[in-house]
């Protein structure tokens, strides 16, 4: 008989095999590892130049859209249940977590959170933004063009373009010089 978590999470042999594959992908080093992650993970779409370092893990990878020239450092985690879009030239530091779904705090209080439906909201990291080390992005957030999220910040609201946000929760701490032309390279 199946354990209850297995029933709740829709466990199957295919689930198990996928999980072993994802662990193997996470552990394969270097450029070869990145090439395998990029090609085998089954992302929704991606540009030709995406680098994903070791330790990467994604749930619902088919709902992730990567632009071009995206770099993701070691140990990042994306839950794309609500959809995650990462535009061109985005930089993602080590240990970054992006969540686009959550448990339903407003649901039936007689049910434990694990038995309620998920709440899903899309995340968008716009062109040229940088999420520094150990940042956490919460569901529904847009990080604007060329914005910077400082290390360790937890982002629960949108970050405007060309703004540095920091803290838990993240707030704007500085504006970045506007260029005559926005990022064009």
């Amino acid at each position: 008989m199946r354990a209850d978590w297995a029933r709740r999470s829709g466990w199957s042999v295919a689930w198990e095999i996928k999980r072993w594959l994802k662990c193997w992908l996470a552990g394969t080093p270097g450029r070869l590892g990145s090439a395998l992650r990029v090609r085998l993970y089954g992302f929704g779409s991606r540009g030709p130049d995406v680098f994903i370092a070791e330790g990467f893990w994604a749930e619902y990878p088919d709902r992730i859209r990567f632009g071009n020239s995206v770099g993701i450092n070691r140990g990042c985690f994306i839950n794309a249940g609500g959809g995650v879009t990462i535009d061109d030239w985005v930089l993602i530091g080590p240990g970054v977590t992006i969540y686009s779904q959550s448990h339903d705090l407003n649901g039936d209080p007689s049910l434990p959170l694990a038995l309620r439906d998920d709440v899903r909201k899309p995340v968008h990291i716009a062109r040229g933004a940088w999420l520094a080390a150990n940042v956490t992005i919460l569901p529904g957030v847009t990080v604007g063009q060329n914005a910077v999220v400082a290390a360790g910040a937890v982002v629960s609201r949108d970050v405007p373009a060309r703004t540095v946000a920091a803290g838990v929760p993240a707030v704007a701490v500085r504006s970045l010089e506007e260029s005559g032309s926005t990022v064009t390279t």
Copy 2:
């Protein structure tokens, strides 16, 4: 001759074998990996339905007591030197750290922290609580029934039941609707 850290930490061949086993357990994927972690880690007690995802690590696992229907996401770390109790229906997100011991800041100041005794205080995560991604729980803390700790929070004081706590250090930011019956499923 032994390195000093080895003497301080009581290194032995049994220590080394245990550490290799824990690394192997941490790296085994999927439902099989969870089943092995649950059965081989030597927890103090546990209900029949506990899921522990990959990357899990525990110190003093014999001092951890798990209830039933507990789910632990990837990459969590529990130091149970002071005892850690996790009740039924608790949800633990990825990258959560639970510490029940600390170095002694008030000890003999002529000794480095590494040579002072540990200070140990039990941690209790009550029924139905949710620790979201990257939360850190500090020694002595109780997280109340159906409480929610927001992503990235560092919890240094108790969180009351049916309360959402957030920030570093975590403070209460919202109360959750009380149900006529508390979680009963």
Copy 3:
């Protein structure tokens, strides 16, 4: 043809081999793993008694100088582009990140961050300091002798000696008793 990230990051076969070696070192358990990490990583200098737990990763390890009796817990990440000095008796908890380089926020705004030069500033963790779990240290920071950085803190400014700093960003929250003799063991 090389992918653009490969050109930008100076990819070569030697780069790839080094990366595979670092992954293998990160995954080797226990005292044996620590001994291999300490000896094979190519650190700038180190005392005879350094313990480095599993999951460790360093960029520019030749720019890291370790004192003696240093202990580093699981899953730590050091980017030593700007130089990182860690003195005797420093304790580093699990999941700690130390960065001594950053992207240049004040550079040519018509270039994406990934194409600008890095900004490098040295980091110094002084004798007897403790960085608790999941701390992030930013470029240019000095953590003073016997100082304590609380779990989850993000340190963007110097922490004075014998001071407990906490929060995001970290601020001083308490002074520690001064000993007649500073740490002498």
